[in-house]
C-alpha cells in the first residue's frame, strides 16, 4: 500500500492542476505518472473517448505503454478497452491465463514483459469517458487496497475533467480532446526537432523538454511550440543538464 501522505499529496496535486485553461494532456499524464508511483506498478496510461465511440490514447508513462494502448484502441481488445466499454473494473492478475480472453492484446503484452493488467473505468454515474490502464511486470500487480486507490484516482480525475468541461463555454469533450491531441502532436514534432538538433534519442529529447517546462513552470505544449519556432534551441536545453545525470 502507498503511504497516506503521498496519496493525499497526489489528490491535492491533481485538483491543483485543474485550473482554468488546464492542459488535458498534462493532467492525464500526471495521473499516469502518479498511478505508477503510488501503486508500485510498471506502467500506466489513460485513454479517453471523444464522444463518437472512438478512443484516443491521451497519456502513457512510457513509449512502450503508449504502444500497448494504441494496440488496444485499434483492435478493440484488452482490459482498458473492456473497462471503458462496460464501465466496470477489469482485472487480469495473470495475463498468461487470459490469452484466450484477449487473443490480440494478451500475447503482445506478455511479449512486452507484462504479467498482469488492469483497466479502471473513468466513470461518474452513467457517464464513462475512458479508462485508466495499469500494467505490472509480475502477476497480481495490484492488491485489493491498491485497486480501491486506483479506482479513487480514476474517479477524481473523471470528476475533474467533466467539471472543467462544463465550466468551459460549450466546449464539448470532443473539442477539448482535439485540442489536447493537437498539443500532443506539437510535442512529438518538438521531440523530433530537439533529437535532430542535438543528435539525441527521442526519449532523451522529451526528457529535456519536460525538464525545461517543469523548471520554468511552463506548459509543455508552450515550450514545444517555441522549440518548433526555433525560439528555444536544443543547446539551450542541453546546457541545463538532465536531472539525475552527473555533471
Amino acid at each position: 500500500m502507498a503511504d497516506q501522505s503521498k496519496i493525499t499529496r497526489t489528490f491535492v496535486e491533481l485538483a491543483d492542476t485543474l485550473v482554468e485553461d488546464y492542459d488535458l494532456i498534462e493532467f492525464t499524464q500526471l495521473l499516469a505518472v502518479r498511478s505508477v508511483e503510488l501503486l508500485g506498478i510498471a506502467d500506466a496510461g489513460v485513454i479517453l473517448s471523444g464522444g463518437q465511440g472512438e478512443l484516443q490514447v491521451l497519456a502513457s508513462s512510457s513509449e512502450l505503454m503508449r504502444f500497448m494502448e494504441l494496440i488496444e484502441v485499434q483492435v478493440d481488445d484488452g482490459p482498458c478497452y473492456e473497462a471503458w466499454r462496460d464501465g466496470e473494473v477489469v482485472s487480469s492478475p495473470s495475463l498468461e491465463d487470459d490469452r484466450d480472453r484477449w487473443p490480440k492484446f494478451a500475447p503482445l503484452a506478455i511479449d512486452a514483459g507484462f504479467g498482469s493488467a488492469y483497466g479502471i473505468p473513468m466513470r461518474v454515474r452513467d457517464q464513462c469517458i475512458g479508462a485508466l490502464n495499469l500494467f505490472a511486470e509480475g502477476p497480481h500487480g495490484l492488491e485489493q487496497g491498491d485497486e480501491d486507490l486506483a479506482r479513487a484516482l480514476a474517479e477524481i480525475a473523471t470528476i475533474g475533467i467533466l467539471n472543467a468541461r462544463y465550466a468551459r463555454d460549450k466546449a464539448t469533450l470532443a473539442e477539448q480532446l482535439q485540442t489536447a491531441l493537437n498539443s500532443r502532436v506539437t510535442i512529438e514534432q518538438a521531440k523530433g526537432i530537439v533529437a535532430a538538433q542535438a543528435d539525441l534519442e527521442v526519449a532523451d529529447a522529451f526528457a529535456l523538454l519536460r525538464q525545461h517546462a517543469r523548471r520554468n513552470n511552463r506548459r509543455l505544449t508552450d515550450v514545444a511550440g517555441e522549440v518548433i519556432e526555433r525560439r528555444i534551441r536544443a543547446t539551450e536545453l542541453m546546457g541545463e543538464g538532465l536531472d539525475g545525470a552527473h555533471p
Binding site: 471523444g50 464522444g51 463518437q52 465511440g53 472512438e54 478512443l55 484516443q56 513509449e63 512502450l64 503508449r66 504502444f67 500497448m68 494504441l70 484502441v73 485499434q74 478493440d76 512486452a112 460549450k170 464539448t172 470532443a174 473539442e175 482535439q178 493537437n182 498539443s183 500532443r184 502532436v185 506539437t186 510535442i187 512529438e188 514534432q189 518538438a190 521531440k191 523530433g192 526537432i193 530537439v194 533529437a195 535532430a196 538538433q197 543528435d199 527521442v202 511550440g225 518548433i228 519556432e229
Partner: protein, 243 residues
Amino acid sequence: MAGMVRRFLDLRSPDDDPVAELTRLCEACVAELPVTTASVSRIRDDEHHGSVASAGPHADALGTLQQEVADGPALEAHGTRASVSEPDLPHSDRWPRYRSDAVAAGVAACFSFPLQIGVARFGTLDLVATDPGPLSAEDRTEALLAADVASSLLLGLTAGGRPIGLPTSIDLLTPRPIVHQAAGMASVQLDTSIEDAYVALQTRARNDHVTLDRLAQELVAHEVSLVGGPGKEWGRPMGNPGR
C-alpha cells in the same frame, strides 16, 4: 463510428487521388451535416489560395471571394487556430469585405475549422448553410473529425502502410506519433518549416517505395537521413514497431 467518417469511407474508391478523396470528404460533410456547401481552403503564410476541393453550390466562388478580399471565416480560423462559427451572417458585422458578396450568394451561416497537425497549419474546412442557425455539439464534433481527416488527406498521411480500405477506427486515418517526430527531425535536417517537412517526408517515402511509418521509424532511429548520401537500401520490413 461517426456518421460523417462512415459516409466518407463509403464514398471513396481505391483509385481516388488526394484531391478526389478531399472531394469525397466534402460530399460526406454535405450529406451528414446541415450544410449546403463544404470546401477545403488552402492557406499558406496567412494567404488564401482558393479551394482545393469542394461539394455543393458556390463553393469555388466563395473560396475565390475570400482569396480576393483577403477576409472571411477561413482566414480567421486559420489565423486564430480555432474554429469559427457565424450562425447568422446577414445580421452580423463580421468580415465586411467578405459578407456582402457571400450573403448575395445565399450564405446565411458559415463555419470554418482549421486544418492543423500540431503547429503545422495547412488551411481550413469551410461549411456554409443557406439557412441560419448554429451547428449542434454533435455536428461540431463531426466537423472536427472531418477537419482531422482533411489535414491527413492534404498531406497524403493516411497511406502510412495501413490497410486504408478497411479502417476500423478514426485512429487509422491519422498518423502515428513517430511520423510527427520524424517531421520535426526532417525540418531540422532540411532547414524547412514543419509544413514543408511533412511534404518532404511524403515525397521521400514515395520515391523510395516505403511506407511513411517505415521511413519515420528509420529516421527517428538515426538509420536514415533526408540530406545528402545515396538512397538507403530498403530490406525487409522492420519487426517490432514498439522499440
